[in-house]
Symmetry: C2
């Protein structure tokens, strides 16, 4: 029964897509005088009818099954993509050359939304928290990414079609294969097999090269499309490689994340901050990942904008002074326990409780989870379709203390839009070790303390006699020993043994008893040197934008052909439109004046004097998500001088004095006023006959 | 006499630099408790004294010679660089790994200025002119840059040291060598030789490979430092190369300019704009040039931010509707005639006059010159040290109609910060030809016209008989002929000759009389298809920032040790500081409240409750160019509730009610109010004793 329906939905969707293309090409011809207006109108009418058919089928399916059909998801995605591409929110890059997978351009409204979103991020995080913002190059010399581990480990497993050479991600192939097995109605796997497949599916992302190879072999996974044999999986580094300078001997990569630029600047940033910790640095910029076979539109791209924060803090104290301000927030948390439990569902929980119960590791991490949640809501993500999912133990790097992903529900499933990780002191230690530059902070005690410390006193005479010209290197190697190293050496020498000590020159020296004195002494200590821990919230701006698009898209009640992008005013690319009700010089003049007032108030706006019906003009601006519309009519010029102000989602209208309209909209955009405040302040205006 | 002085200036500069390093390292030790405050203070005192000596020597030199000494330029540059690096406006990237030439990071104040500058640019150009802003990837497939000519021609000539292999730019080497010859006091060149050298110097940038090789040989140019032989010059492509996707068969480059992203989107942008011309598209983003041996700090870097506009217009009409709004502006113009003339000096001239006299090619180009001039003034470039220099004929590409560079005077000489070029229809034609996608616009005539057009009517029967399976290709080739091609063919066929016609398949066919009829007919024509011309203003944001830094830097009258960055409020990284006069809870509390008010008004601010003297606090904020300071004193909490507001450059102070101070500063930053308005409105406050 539902299979029949699914087929019908699919056919209806195809008809809508085809007719949409027809309408667009007719419109283009109309502009060049090659088609007639009546022809275009008829095609539009036909399109509207087809959309109604599609919508009805989808509703029927939802009623019958109680769930959103895959086709309905597909249909939503396709309808949204239609609006987004038609209105140039984004388009595939290099389109006239056939495009390249994984690259997208933002057109005018997409560009404006991205600006608004990064500016909102900057205000919400950088300004509000006095973060130190930096901007570093994308081209990065190899040594930096060697230190961070990206050169050696930033890889995906790849397999190739043994005949065509086409490349695939091994994990995607295996997942697809296993899911197909589970859904196979003709040869359903046994209960034991099903359990085995499910377990393997859950761990696909963590398989090592040998286990991945074994799994692909065991399940006889073949190349998609051709059914050919596939190669064994091998690691493919995802960084774009290049060469810096004319000689060709300096390898560079396009950074795979912006974070490293902050770590390598830690010393200067600490100095800039007056030597005080904790402090946070932030960077907004482009990162690059040479994905093996990118699909999923804006969600998996090869060049993307990140906004990353590195909050440096003394690992011994991860409390946060502003924790109380977010402790009462109750986002959906999907903790490790909930993921392992029966229901497998996120639950709302106050962040205060989560820290108290040890579910979230510390206050600072929880603080950023709370601030992140507020940011997502501010830019238009539905908080009921957003959750914070904790990494399972085996998903985390060995050095990480606790990690949470901010995930948003879309037609693609739950999409990771932000990662929040307590990375301990790993990053700074890695760069210290590679650069030999000290990346530590100094904690001055309120009062000097008497502490037992280990002293290493080389015997210069003895060292000189034995090591001659290497004396200096040996001495430095001994003095560079940390507490553990020194005590280990001491125990060997005390036992009369010879011990090896490695110098920074790469040499190793044999140290014999008498060459060095190692002792514990009690000293006055004024403070302590330590490598700070880092808590890293890392945002993918393009993903947040796409999720926001899905959460903003709806169609007008009763007219399923009319798409609306319900953008929050703060991110909307255009804040207002200005229309004269009819085309008269006096009305056009006033509309132009109001448009200028809006521009002066920093409000992007569109003035439309085309003479189309008001209803048509609203329909056009709904698609680009303009939240407010100002209409100028005869009363505006001859009567009381007021204008109509309309809000997009409620379609409610009020009369506002023309001199106040710019500041009212400014206040609405800045969240200093709600639409409720506006309707309470100004008289309502009944909708005109041709309004909707 | 002056040589002696020059040496003294150099020594004094070195002493200042050395002492500056000492102070910095002492300060760092102080923070870790390893040095004493008295020691630091003494070192600072010593530094101040050394700076006074240096300044005095420089003044003496300027008096004696009437010009700014090279050392004084060097000194200014070094002093400025000291402030910029110490305050983290920018720092060399990857510093802990020894840095890589041509890469810089922006630290917190630099980052904020860059944000402010691009936002000002966006408001001034994109919003004000309703431009279509786009954002395209930096990674670009080869075919796009093949079409644009960058793959084949975006090169500099390079030479290498025959022994060490070190790489140099051939033009830089030749220039340096020739300049040294001219300045050689021991063996001055003859008048004839001098003339020859000067002429060669003027054309170094335009030499071809063979003439460059000949010049290097003739003047026996050798490798700097080593004096070794150099290789012959060879072209080195300045694009960073990479590979897209896992297969390694798709070559990509990091874009050398943002413009191409706009050109390849022309068709969609035209559709977005309702098919109407003229319109402009804009893009702000990073571009990449793998410079051979970058020096000159921020002026020649390998990764930089561009802001580019492509204004598409019908080549037949380059008038501009808003031309009158800028026709009265009088920037310094350095026309071709002035450059070839005796004085070699730019002159102020109204843009209206320049267009009328044919000095600037058209209104649209002049309009952008005017808008650019206003932008530069807005962000803090001194208009008396900025000129627009016209390209000489031989500097322009063959297709360009007219080009002007916006140049700013600095210690490095005149620096090109913006290029404004009328590029005719070259770019769109190049991409049409490579992509085979039509990048034209359609001009609909107000009334259909009767026009004589050339009709090509292939004789299908004849073609079929002769060309068999190639018939279609021949037919298409004939129909694709433009008017000239068709008439040329007709004249040959009419003369009974056989003519060759090239098909898009690459084949060539012999066309004989009778195979095609070509005739002129009079038809009703509704409009015309044409490839739009493009006028391109292209801004280098980093260069403008650096020039702005030089124009903003000064020292306090009477205290040459106190550096001030006189940033315009709109670009200043921090708009205001808030100080309590002394450390008292009530004052701190009010200061905190005012700081919050400023943040709410979107004004970045620093609150300083360190208890340093007011004078010291001002000195600190002068260096990062904070334009306004609010001081809270006892009268603010116990008296009339007013606070002191101080302007950085005049150091004048007024008393402003605390409730008004945020909006006053907001108005000052937004240029809605001048400091003159403020002093006229509010009572003056006499400076406190310890104020300066």
């Amino acid at each position: 029964m539902t299979e029949h329906l699914e087929k019908e939905i699919q056919d209806a969707q195809e008809a809508v897509t085809k007719q949409g293309d027809t309408v667009r090409s007719l419109k283009a011809s109309l502009k060049e005088g090659k088609s007639e207006k009546a022809e275009v109108d008829a095609a539009i009418q036909k399109l509207a009818e087809l959309k109604i058919v599609l919508e009805a089928k989808q509703k029927e399916f939802e009623k019958a099954t109680g769930k959103v059909s895959a086709q309905s998801k597909e249909a939503l995605r396709a309808a949204l993509a239609g609006v987004l591409e038609r209105r140039m929110f984004y388009i595939p890059s290099f389109k006239i050359y056939g495009s390249v997978a994984g690259f997208y351009d933002y057109g005018p409204p997409g560009c404006a939304i991205k600006q608004n979103m990064t500016q909102t991020w900057r205000n919400h995080f950088v300004l509000e928290e006095n973060m130190l913002e930096v901007e570093c190059p994308a081209v990065t010399p190899e040594i930096v990414l060697k230190a961070s581990g990206h050169v050696d480990r930033f890889t995906d497993f790849m397999v190739t079609d043994a005949v065509t050479g086409e490349c695939f991600r091994a994990d995607h192939l295996l997942e697809g294969h296993l899911e197909a097995l589970l859904e196979d109605k003709k040869n359903p796997p046994s209960p034991e097999k099903t359990k085995e497949i499910r377990e393997l599916l859950a761990s696909v992302g963590e398989l090592k090269q040998d286990t991945m190879a074994a799994a692909l072999k065991e399940y006889n996974v073949r190349a998609p499309g051709t059914g050919n044999d596939i190669s064994p999986p091998f690691p493919f580094n995802l960084m774009f490689k290049t060469s810096i300078g004319p000689k060709g001997d300096l390898v560079g990569y396009l950074r795979p994340e912006t974070a490293q630029g902050i770590f390598v600047n830690f010393r200067d940033l600490l100095y800039y901050n007056g030597g005080k910790l904790p402090f946070a640095a932030a960077q907004i910029g482009n990162s690059y990942r040479n994905e093996i076979s990118p699909r999923a539109g804006l969600l998996r791209v090869r060049e993307f904008t990140q906004a990353e924060i590195e909050h440096f803090v003394n690992g011994a104290d991860k409390s946060h002074p502003k924790f109380a301000s977010i402790a009462g927030l109750r986002p959906l948390l999907y903790s490790r326990a909930l993921q392992m439990g029966e229901e497998k569902k996120a639950q709302p929980m106050s962040l205060g409780e989560a820290v108290e119960k040890g579910i979230i590791a510390n206050e600072t991490l929880a603080y950023f989870i709370g601030r992140t949640w507020l940011f997502f809501i501010k830019v238009g993500i539905n908080p009921e379709r957003m959750r914070f999912r904790q990494h399972l133990q085996h998903e985390m790097a060995h050095y990480a203390t606790d990690c949470w992903d901010g995930e948003v529900e879309t037609t693609y499933g739950w999409v990771e839009c932000v990662g929040l990780a307590d990375r301990s002191a790993y990053d700074l230690k890695a760069h210290t070790s590679m650069s030999k530059i000290d990346l530590t902070a100094f904690e001055k005690f309120p009062e000097p303390r008497m502490e037992e410390v280990v002293k290493v006193v080389p015997n210069n005479k003895e060292l000189g006699a034995v090591f001659k010209k290497d004396q200096k290197a040996v001495k430095e190697a001994l003095e560079a020993l940390d507490e553990c190293g020194a005590m280990e050496l001491k125990s060997k020498l005390d036992a009369g043994e010879t011990a090896k000590v490695a110098a920074s020159t790469g040499q190793t020296f044999d140290i014999k008893p008498g060459m060095v004195e190692i002792k514990k002494v009690t000293e006055k200590v004024t403070g302590k040197t330590y490598t700070p821990s880092v808590i890293e919230p890392s945002f993918g701006i393009g993903r947040i934008m796409y999720c926001m698009f899905e959460h903003s898209y709806y169609t007008r009640e009763g007219d399923e052909t009319r798409a609306v992008m319900g953008f929050k005013p703060v991110v909307a690319p255009t804040k207002a439109t200005v229309f004269p009700l009819v085309q008269k010089p006096a009305l056009n003049e006033l509309a132009t004046k109001i448009s200028r007032d809006l521009t002066s108030a920093g409000l992007s706006n569109i003035i439309d004097t085309t003479g189309n019906t008001i209803g048509k003009r609203y329909a056009r601006t709904d698609e680009i998500g303009v939240p407010f519309a100002v209409t100028v009519d005869f009363a505006s010029v001859d009567g009381d001088g007021s204008v109509t102000l309309r809000e997009r989602d409620s379609m409610a209208q009020v009369r506002v004095p023309q001199s106040e309209v710019a500041s009212v909209i400014r206040n609405l955009v800045d969240d200093r006023m709600t639409w409720g405040d506006v309707t309470a302040t100004y008289p309502a205006q009944k909708a005109q006959a041709d309004d909707e």
